[in-house]
Amino acid sequence: MHMHKLEKIWLILGISCLIIFLTTVGVSAFYMGNKPPSCLLTIDPEKVDQQKPFDKPGLHKVEGKEWDYELVYVAQAFSYNPAKVEIPLGAKVKVIATTKDVIHGFEVAGTNINMMLEPGYISEYTTTFDKEGEYLIVCNEYCGSGHHLMFSKIEVVKK
């Protein structure tokens, strides 16, 4: 089959781009172990308050794990529990969240923490809070008439 020289060049460029982008995703998932925030962990949405760790929402120091703190959130229409949290600068934190009723969003504005909270599922995200400041958590999944009033705050402070 006759093919123009330039056609060959752009086919090679296109296919290599595809291979590079897919390899990046593959390495991220299978070598570095990145996974979606909600990954097969389930919970009975009617008994969220009685089950660990959601019986005690808030920031907890943990020992012997890859992260220093666990930050537990319970979302319901139209609030987050806890409403405000202080995190020491540089702490490695695992954010664990779920919802008691409908689907809510959990976005810490201006950061990579952005999860969907689905009833019956637990969402997690581990990160290091290495920038000082006040961060707003907003619900970015429409959840009802009070959706726009649903927020919480994280303060990253030097200690």
């Binding site: 296109g14 781009c17 982008f21 950061t111 923490i113 290091t128």
Partner: protein, 49 residues
């Protein structure tokens, strides 16, 4: 009096319609755009916590 035709032979330049230079240029432009936007988003992701 009729004029004498001075140039009997005229060369008409025919453009090479099979040329793919323009297409190649737009492909490279698109490639550059995709790579720059991909890297931009990637660095934003790495920079944030």
């Amino acid at each position: 009096m009729a004029k004498v035709e001075l140039k009997a032979k005229q060369n008409t330049e025919i453009e090479d319609r099979s040329s793919l230079k323009g297409t190649m240029a737009s492909v490279l432009f698109l490639l550059l755009f995709i790579i720059v936007s991909w890297l931009g988003v990637y660095y934003l992701f790495v920079d944030r916590f």
